[in-house]
Symmetry: C2
Subunit: 416 residues, 2 copies
């Protein structure tokens, strides 16, 4: 019987060259974020199906890999729908499991709790280039802190990490869901239509001001509202002064504290940033997930078209588990995109060890073998990477292959 | 709606204290094994159901978490058995996915290929203390190398790692499936009964020589065979000399090269070992998996009753995928058991950073906040862990909590 060689549809095998970069980045993530007081946690890949289906996951809930019930609990003949067959599924993000984790372990956790998670998530998306059904996410979250200090810490931690990976000239776009709503209210859109308005607004970077105007009008919104709305985007500049403008224009529609906090976040981060990036107030930034309640942010990078990370405040989600409101804010970097960019850039893991290989002739005595193993162990203890290999007939090919793998020292060991 | 707080049955949330140790051990694993020329790979957690069910997994095949088909492929009304509902499942080990990986990527991999994998595996075992349904495995394997050099390298790499984790006085028990079979053949057991004989033999450490004798007789084996068999275990000493004895006694039943190779493995490892352990020839060592074809080994530790790792040669498995035989040998450490032992021992991650916390009074101006954030960023760049927190009303409790988390410097920042 021959077995199936390819991975399951949409998932991938990761080869050593990529894995070495991934491990390096994971190490840097742990190291960098721990300096900001984040502590690592892990949740299972498998989650209760009722939690996954609880409307916290938006569109992702349509993409769940569901896990079949086992043993007596599986009653196939009685099953009427899919729901009768499954009791759990693979997590589609790390935010929902974090909320469950916090609810489950709050008594043992400090307050505020600064969590760091990296782990695989699973989405049964339509397979497409560069998008996989299993991929790694990397989130930092602060739970139990309502002050903007949390947002400042998250943005500084994330940008410090990107700086250490030698990313330059990127932008942290920031907005606040409450400003977003106040702008819609100020313009006279009915509250029940906000979500639709934001979906159109979200296309601004693709279809431009005229496109947004056209779609809003076509969707039947009052010309007056549309004009008032778009005028705001024309006058608001992409900086702290722009937030000030918004605050003044939205008087009566927006608690001015939210604008002041946003200004403080922008100014504080700009003032102390260690990496090469800028903060930009972007009143068109929407962020899809309905659970966001306050500031939202996204990383834009010139060398990559889309977003390479994002996050925001979600003060209501943890309450769904714990029964009482817990302020929360998180920032997720697009781990897979960052790895892709590093690979494209020909990134080399810094500080790799010198690599030495011994090619040992097959008929060497066991005494000779022992002598070489002893030398190898000595060199490993000194920090070298040392590989012991049986010498092949095609020695030239073997040496070429080792050179390609980065072995700079090759020593041949003969029986006599 | 309140959601479910507990993880799914049999899986666990991992809190920061344990995660910090896990991350440290994973870092040490990557670092140590890379010095031996092992390179990291990753395979998906989800695997084809036909691969998982291919009889390579022994008892584990009964414990598979199966993943429901999706979309049009799921035809609930037509489904007659469980098999009609699923197309994949969660991997129960890393060996089967490695074989698939090698078959899928052989053209891009060096030969021999020294693979390092750490990752979660899933088994729907009956939940019990200390045994979880999701747990991390850590395997090193050498594919494409038939020489005993591979066994030597695997044992040295594994024991070096354990030594770095400050484990002492442990034993690597080693045997060879072919010696195991030769001993049964020499004693006159019929070939089709070997598996049953080995299952009884495997209980030697629990029920002793008398117990094994009793069970063999009760199972209907000839008294002559049983006597001859047990006599072997009486005369064979647990060292290289014991292998020599076995070789001589089993003349005609065992290719003497297998014994000589085992002696070389034992002597070479003993001669160059860097950690505090001993090699022991154990002719009662069976290792459950039917795929083993040559040397097999297991780690015994006095401070822990059972095995904390094991492995062996499995020269036939990769051939099931690739259609041609590829020699392979692997060594897996019991990652979860090692973490448990470290936790019980009160293990402290070495070289942790100094931890400092700023408690910032809530009414501080944004200028004051900026000043503190700037100081914190400076100290982080210098290598400290720095946490910025809003000062709480119950400041004493907050400080006590921080001290417990290892913060040795706490600075209070007031508005005036």
């Amino acid at each position: 019987m021959k077995l199936t060689k390819k991975p399951v549809t949409g998932m991938k095998d990761i080869l050593p060259r990529e894995m070495e970069i991934r491990n390096y980045v994971i190490g840097l993530i742990n190291d960098t974020y721990s300096k900001f007081g984040f502590t690592p946690i892990e949740t299972p890949c498998v989650e209760h199906i009722e939690n996954l289906n609880s409307k916290q996951g938006g569109e992702n809930e349509k993409l769940i890999f569901k896990v079949l019930k086992r043993g007596e609990k599986l009653k196939l003949s009685e099953a009427k729908t899919e729901a009768d067959l499954v009791d759990s599924g693979l997590r589609y993000d790390l935010t929902l499991p974090l909320s469950r984790f916090y609810a489950n372990n709050a008594s043992e956790l400090p307050s505020p709790f600064k969590a760091l998670q990296t782990g695989n998530v699973f989405r049964a998306d339509r397979p497409q280039r560069g998008r996989f059904r299993q991929f790694r996410q990397c989130d930092i979250d602060i739970l139990g802190e309502s002050s903007y200090l949390a947002e400042i810490e998250l943005i500084l931690a994330t940008t410090t990490l990107l700086g250490k990976l030698d990313f330059h000239n990127f932008t942290i776009r920031i907005n606040d869901r409450r400003i977003l709503k106040a702008m819609a209210a100020y313009s006279g859109f009915p509250e029940e239509s906000y979500d639709e308005v934001f979906i159109i607004l979200d296309k601004m970077d693709k279809i431009g001001m005229e496109g947004v105007e056209k779609e809003l009008i076509e969707s039947g919104y009052a010309k007056d509202s549309v004009d008032k709305y778009l005028e705001l985007f024309r006058i608001i500049t992409p900086d702290a002064a722009g937030v000030q403008t918004a605050k003044e224009k939205l008087d009566g529609f927006l608690n001015p504290v939210y604008a002041d906090d946003l200004i403080t976040i922008i100014n504080s981060v700009e003032a102390v940033r260690t990496a090469d990036f800028r903060m930009a107030f972007d009143p068109t930034l929407v962020r899809g997930m309905s659970y966001y309640t306050g500031p939202i942010f996204e990383i834009s990078m010139d060398e990559y078209g889309g977003s390479v990370g994002g996050g925001g405040r979600y003060d209501e989600m943890v309450g769904k588990f714990i029964g009482q409101s817990v302020p929360a804010v998180g920032f997720s970097i697009g781990f897979e995109r960052i790895i892709m960019l590093l690979l494209e850039r020909g990134f080399q893991v810094p500080g790799s060890a010198v690599k030495k290989a011994y090619l040992v002739e097959k008929k060497c005595s066991s005494e000779k073998i022992q002598e070489i193993v002893r030398k190898a162990m000595q060199e490993r203890a000194e920090g070298k990477t040392v590989n012991l290999l049986v010498m092949k007939k095609n020695k030239k090919f073997q040496k070429d292959q080792l050179t390609e793998e980065g072995y700079t020292e090759i020593e041949e060991v003969f029986a006599n």
